[in-house]
Subunit: 329 residues, 2 copies
């Protein structure tokens, strides 16, 4: 199964919808900033998941497209605000909104995208009962996203974070919108309650696996393919599962432990020091631990699909889970 062909085809169907929602508004400088990320592409993973799931439970994928597009607007709103908060300067090969414009414009453009998402939800052509569920799901997801972003900030350079803490943060910051996409797509497609819960869990675990694997290829991948400087997480002092596990294996007093700690969170660390830190993370078993953990999440995620009838849509969801830990970017 070529999941890219499916991803690309579905994403192409979504473009006019997303463009349409962001067509009208003023003043023009705000609208340019509002459109900056959504119009710069992206894989549209959340709406695609919503649509495929709606198909997979026996409904019509296109009925889930507006809901999925609303989640894509929410996703883009969080990217604009997160890049500002994290001081990340580029996104999708473009300058970040707060860089191309300024802080106030980034705050406002994010707020406007958020507002538009709820306007789209208010006009969904679904039954009233479904509308209420989708609304609550989305609003609660945004609340959880904020919790996750705050935890991520609190955890930076904090030596007491456990792998469990880290996974909770990833669930809140990354998985929750995938889970909302899958559960929402299931609700729209007319799934039974067990299927809705199973699909929520599937996408939640898929999100965790994606993030764990992102952490791995961020250290071991090819910068020209990942698009992210190798070891940037190390310079930023991110306490990923890899780092937490390695530090717990090393233990205080272990010579490599101190060497690792000296580089973690050191923005001025040399490339050589970062390379050495990555070697230590491998040697102490952090990389293999995160890889195996990601693979376990993929396995569990796929098991959650057993309540779905066989179809090409189910096959796509299986393939997407496998892709989470097979990709080099």
């Amino acid at each position: 199964m070529d999941i890219f062909e499916i991803l690309n085809n579905r994403a192409r169907d979504l473009e006019p919808l997303i463009t349409g929602y962001l067509k009208e508004g003023r003043p023009e400088n705000l609208m340019d900033a509002v459109r900056h990320y959504p119009m710069a592409g992206g894989k549209r993973m959340r709406p695609v998941v919503a649509m495929v799931v709606a198909d997979a439970v026996g409904g019509k994928g296109k009925d889930a497209a507006p809901f999925g597009a609303a989640l894509e607007l929410v996703h883009n709103f969080t990217l604009v605000h997160d890049d500002l908060m994290d001081n990340d300067d580029t996104r999708r090969g473009l300058p970040a909104v707060h860089v191309k414009w300024d802080m106030p414009t980034a705050v406002l453009a994010g707020d406007a995208l958020f507002a538009k998402a709820f306007e789209v939800l208010a006009e969904l052509e679904v039954s009233d009962d479904k509308l209420r569920r989708l609304l609550k799901l989305t609003a609660q997801s945004v609340w959880i996203l904020a919790e996750g972003q705050q935890l991520d900030t609190n955890y930076e350079n904090n030596p007491n974070i456990t792998v469990e803490d880290y996974l909770t943060m990833v669930e809140k910051k990354t998985s929750v919108l995938f889970a909302a996409a899958a559960a929402g797509g299931a609700i729209i497609g007319g799934a039974n309650e067990k299927q809705v819960c199973d699909l929520y869990d599937y996408a939640n675990m898929l999100g965790i696996a994606f993030q764990l694997w992102d952490d791995v290829i961020g250290l071991t991948g090819d910068e020209s393919i990942t698009g992210k400087p190798v070891g940037s997480d190390i310079r930023n002092g991110k306490r990923t599962a890899i780092v937490i596990k390695a530090l717990s294996k090393g233990g205080r007093g272990h010579p490599k432990y101190d060497e690792l700690l000296n580089v973690l969170g050191n923005q001025d660390a040399s490339d050589e020091e970062v390379r050495r830190a990555i070697d230590i993370l491998r040697e102490l078993g952090g990389v293999s631990y995160a890889t195996e953990l990601a693979e376990r999440y993929v396995k569990s995620a796929k098991e959650k699909l057993s309540s779905l009838p066989d179809s090409k849509h189910k096959e796509f969801l299986v393939a997407l889970a496998d892709f989470a830990v097979a990709r080099s970017y």
Copy 2:
């Protein structure tokens, strides 16, 4: 009629609702920031308007309380973000969120308040038809608020702004949530379509009158009563109706025109220079123009109440309009 007694009584009924919505969440540092403005009081004007209007159209005021509280959360979210964007350091006698914490926490606390508002809306105990209308009204209002904030920024120190431009900005930035409160209260209370529109217009004009009068007392009021440094709008270069009108009366070449321009937007202007600028704004008719304009809006706003049956609730709405241009703070 003692409008303060009514405002205070209604506001007291709202407190447990607002407190309840903000009770749960984590981590604690985010929750402290989320609660900072909503728990610091405020007049709760928007929810009070929604509740009184619901009563005034023959419904039950308390049925509009959760919707009103959702708008209060939206209002507080915009205050957190606006203070950050405008670099205002205090609010309700407290340090602003971005001052007490930092920029990222202010962005996130605002986002979380916004998300909570829509969670409250998703759970409103109103008919499905009303729910959709309230949702759309609120989401569109937030979009318009963002437009208004951007226009406000764009208009600073811009010499080409007309009174019409200014009023459009005020409608978007200030009136829109009052209008949503009144229209929403009317929908919940079971008003007919003409009443919903009339009440929207009433609150829209009320909001404009409030802002015009704020501009006036910001120049002519007593700092110890208004709580705002006299002439801060002048140092910030705000092109209020007062300034626009005075400049159009003065005209280029007029000696006072140039004197005024030298102080407008000059953060380092002395108190004496600001006092002199205020005198010029008076002499050129700017202050009386804005006062009369505010009074005209109040008159038109009250006329919009003619489709309501007589009641003490209608009397409150009349008194609130009169208060807009009678207050000294």
